[in-house]
């Protein structure tokens, strides 16, 4: 008898999630608390319950694959186009409504996934040690120039932001050239790659290196004081620089959402994506994560505005290439001894 009660309790708990009629299930590799507030707004508006499993992107992708047709996942949300591109075989078309197509530029979406917010991967420098003349005309390509020897910090090659950056370089310059470029990068490193993007910016502030490669929102995040007064002070010691202004523009990446194959709540998932692209949601996102808005008519956070908005974005290189060239990117970096 007791066993029966326990068993039925176990099954009840196991299936409690599927009792709600209207819901949408998100596998999210991007789990800011502000996203949770956003989902709550969506639920309040539509009555659709948002369920979230958060985790590292790789583990989430594997779980979706292993669960196969049984996966409850509707949307896969991640902070890099490279991830979505590499996962495309497990996504399905359907993000094609006018509400999406009309607001997201075509290089930031496919029918299976779409960008929700933008970020740029840029160079940070210490004005005390790097002159304007040295920086003039700086490109990602010229970071491998011997004049930066022992002066550059960038994170490890297993990092997806780096893989996407290198993939875009391969798309534009060819694999052979980028293989040489990777060797030049390794030769210029001030230290063996370690830590996250923020750690690279802090290394420049601390004098360990003169220039760093990192995403845009990290500097704004530190300047906001959310990381404490020490990092706020440190962030003021470095300045952002947007590379490739004379050519194709600065490397752009996205936070995005993909529609999972066999999604049990496809219509709700599309509704949620459309909501995330609404003015209300975009305002919420940019003010909490310091990313650039995906849609027109929304201003980024003032600290991001201060970093400068009139730079040329690379809108020529479609972000779908980040996934396609990912393996090549990892290969050339590994071959160059990029840790």
């Amino acid at each position: 008898m007791k066993k029966h009660i326990i068993l039925s309790y176990l099954f009840l708990v196991a299936f409690a999630g599927s009792l709600f009629a209207s819901e949408v299930n998100i596998f999210s590799a991007r789990h800011y608390d502000s996203d949770v507030q956003l989902y709550e707004k969506f639920t309040a508006k539509t009555g659709i319950k948002v369920n979230v499993v958060s985790g590292k992107s790789g583990a989430l992708e594997k779980r979706i694959i292993e669960e196969g047709a049984d996966s409850k996942a509707d949307l896969y949300i991640t902070a890099d186009a490279g991830r979505l591109g590499a996962f495309e075989a497990n996504l399905q078309g359907g993000l094609t409504s006018a509400a999406i197509k009309s607001v997201v530029p075509s290089n930031f979406r496919t029918s299976k996934w779409t960008g929700i917010a933008k970020r740029a991967r840029i160079v940070y420098f210490a004005p005390e040690r790097v002159s304007g003349a040295e920086l003039a005309g700086l490109t990602y390509e010229s970071l491998a120039d011997p004049k930066w020897k022992g002066r550059l910090v960038i994170r490890a090659s297993n990092n997806i932001y780096n893989q996407s950056l290198v993939a875009s370089l391969i798309k534009n310059n060819g694999k052979g050239k980028v293989a040489d470029w990777s060797k030049g990068m390794v030769a210029n490193m001030a230290r063996s790659p370690k830590g996250n993007d923020r750690a690279q910016i802090l290394a420049v502030a601390a004098g360990e290196a003169d220039i760093a490669v990192a995403n845009t929102y990290y500097l704004a995040l530190m300047l906001s004081g959310k990381k404490g007064p020490e990092q706020q002070a440190a962030a003021k010691k470095v300045k952002p620089f947007f590379p490739n202004q004379d050519g194709r523009g600065t490397h752009m990446n996205i936070s995005g959402a993909g529609l999972v194959k066999g999604a049990p709540n496809k219509a709700n998932a599309i509704k949620l994506v459309e909501f995330l692209l609404s003015e209300e949601a975009q305002n919420h996102i940019v003010n909490n994560t310091f990313e650039y808005p995906m849609i027109k008519g929304v201003s980024p956070h003032p600290l991001v505005v201060n970093m400068g908005l009139d730079f040329r974005q690379d809108l020529k290189t479609k972000v779908v290439n980040y996934g396609k060239r990912q393996a090549d990117a990892l290969e050339v970096m590994t071959a160059a001894g990029w840790k």
């Binding site: 708990v13 985790g55 590292k56 790789g58 669960e67 409850k72 990381k227």
Partner: protein, 538 residues
């Protein structure tokens, strides 16, 4: 003759369930892999093995040094606060090594806590270049050592505790110096206990996943994780697991062997506690300083770092749904303890009344779960149940069973069961064996049924032991990371997963609060059970 009764089949079933992950790993060793494994063999596999070994080697040296020194001081000497240290040093058990890793990073990074302290003390200056950066390999070794040394400490200390003489006096009578006494008498006497402790450290160290991934050091466990995640190659993952399992099985047999030896060192009837030698002056100060330093680094340092962050970034206190996470943890702990303890009791009872040898072998076989790293277990668990489910759907009209096992509380509890069955079964077995079987016969003579004997005589005898087992299971589940991370359902976080998710998102300061709660509950459980832990022989 073995009786093929219900007990036999019950034990067989449990043994099979618990052994399934190992069997899965073993069979995949013969299946095909992708090119990745070949590439890996040619490039990084050696590095993975080397890194695992380097970490293991230094962790063993450090835990040996810390564990044995502390046990030596508190067992044989009296110095200020020595009684306090004898239990306080176990508190390091409450800090999982991945949380220790967060603390190290936060303290030593550019503009980190050390920088703030120096600025506060000596004014503004760029202190960053002079603060050592404890990361990578060194950071991993320190984090793992300081969170695992209590294994060596606890076992060595109890081995000292049960010796009938104070060996220091023996040494004096033999005309040996203190150093000679230590090297020639004390250390050899505790050898089996020390080896048992070190092999537990080694197993935990080899299965560590969180710490090394946080310090971006690639070891065999990261190899397993990466080949599964980045290259979609479950077979490669399982083959690397196989290499790791071989090491672990060797360690496990060393551990079992030294445990057997340890039995010869147990006290006879004339056992009396050691008369401790009172230290004074410099020696007392040294012992006091040493123990304080170990306690400071292993427990007070990470706790203070977490408190400092929680206070400095109070925003996250309202962001995190602490009540819900407490409830989730409680739910897991209750369900898992209930299942583990009741099945362990039943199987123990079964092997007691049926007195079958095969049953003993079977249960021994099923104890392997604890030796498998959580990450391997989780991967094997998913492999197994998706295969079974595919088999069912391909051959019958039945629907898929994946949902029942993957991403459900039921699946999570089942995985915990596989992992911790050995802990709970052995724990109950050790005290069950102390109930003389003649008591059962007397009970039957008095007209007690088997069920009555079990519930009215056995269970009351085992009560305090069951309580201890529940505490140990809870402690393990509260700290458990990889299994929970991979198998948990929607909207479900524990303190461990919440802390890890934040930390991997560059939000270490948000990871502080869940970490602090994790440490808080673990500490309470440790204090509650410290008397048992310190006096237990195994």
């Amino acid at each position: 003759m073995t009786k093929y009764n219900i007990w036999f089949f019950g034990s067989l079933l449990i043994a099979t369930v618990v052994a399934l992950p190992i069997i899965t790993v073993f069979f995949s060793f013969f299946s095909e892999t992708s090119n990745y494994f070949q590439v890996l063999k040619n490039t990084f596999l050696f590095d993975y093995i080397l890194n695992s070994f380097l970490i293991l080697f230094f962790v063993l040296i450090i835990t040996f040094f810390l564990g044995v020194s502390c046990a030596y001081f508190v067992s044989f000497y009296e110095f200020p606060l020595s009684n306090f240290f004898s239990w306080a040093l176990i508190l390091a058990f409450a800090i999982p090594s991945y949380i220790f890793a967060f603390s190290i990073i936060a303290f030593f990074e550019n503009y980190g806590t050390a920088f703030s302290i120096l600025t506060l003390l000596f004014g503004e200056y760029n202190y960053n270049p002079i603060i050592p950066k404890l990361d990578g390999m060194i950071g991993s070794i320190i984090a793992i050592s300081f969170s695992l040394f209590p294994y060596v400490y606890v076992l060595t200390r109890s081995s000292f505790f049960f010796q009938s003489n104070n060996y220091i006096e023996v040494g004096k009578n033999l005309g040996l110096s203190e150093k000679e006494t230590f090297a020639k008498i004390i250390l050899p006497s505790a050898r089996p206990a020390i080896i048992a402790g070190l092999s537990l450290v080694a197993m935990e160290c080899l299965s560590d996943f969180g710490t090394v991934s946080f310090f971006s050091v690639s070891t065999l466990t990261t190899g397993i994780y990466n080949s599964w995640l980045s290259f979609d190659d479950l077979n490669s993952a399982n083959q690397i697991s196989f290499i790791l399992l071989l090491f672990i099985l060797i360690l496990l047999s060393i551990e079992i062997h030294s445990r057997k030896e340890a039995k010869y060192h147990q006290p006879g009837r004339g056992f009396k506690p050691i008369n401790k030698i009172k230290l004074s002056g410099k020696k007392a100060l040294f012992a006091f300083m040493f123990c304080s330093l170990v306690l400071l680094i292993s427990f007070i340092f990470p706790v203070s770092q977490m408190i400092y962050w929680s206070v400095k970034f109070p925003k996250y206190i309202q962001d995190i749904d602490i009540f819900k996470i407490n409830l989730n943890t409680l739910k897991l702990v209750c369900l898992a303890s209930l299942v583990l303890v009741s099945i362990s009791l039943l199987i123990n009872y079964g092997s007691r009344i049926s007195k079958s040898k095969i049953l003993n072998y079977l249960t021994n076989f099923s104890l392997s779960g604890y030796a498998i790293p959580g990450i391997i277990l989780a991967v094997a668990f998913i492999t197994l149940f998706s295969n079974i489910s595919d088999l069912i759907t391909n051959n019958t009209n039945l629907g898929s069973t994946k949902k029942i096992f993957i991403g459900s509380i039921f699946g999570l509890v089942l995985a915990y069961f596989i992992r911790f069955f050995s802990l709970s079964f052995n724990g109950i077995k050790s005290s069950y064996e102390k109930i003389n079987s003649s008591i059962d016969e007397s009970a039957y003579l008095l007209g007690y049924s088997k069920i009555k004997t079990f519930s009215l005589i056995h269970v009351p005898h085992l009560k305090s032991n069951i309580l201890l087992i529940i505490v140990l299971i809870s402690l393990e589940i509260i700290k458990e990371l990889p299994i929970t991370m991979i198998l948990r359902p929607f909207n479900f976080e524990t303190f461990a997963t919440q802390a890890y998710v934040y930390a991997s998102q560059d939000l270490l300061e948000a990871a502080a609060l869940p970490s602090l709660f994790l440490i808080f509950w673990s500490t309470i459980l440790i204090i509650f059970s410290s008397k048992y832990i310190l006096s237990s022989k195994n």
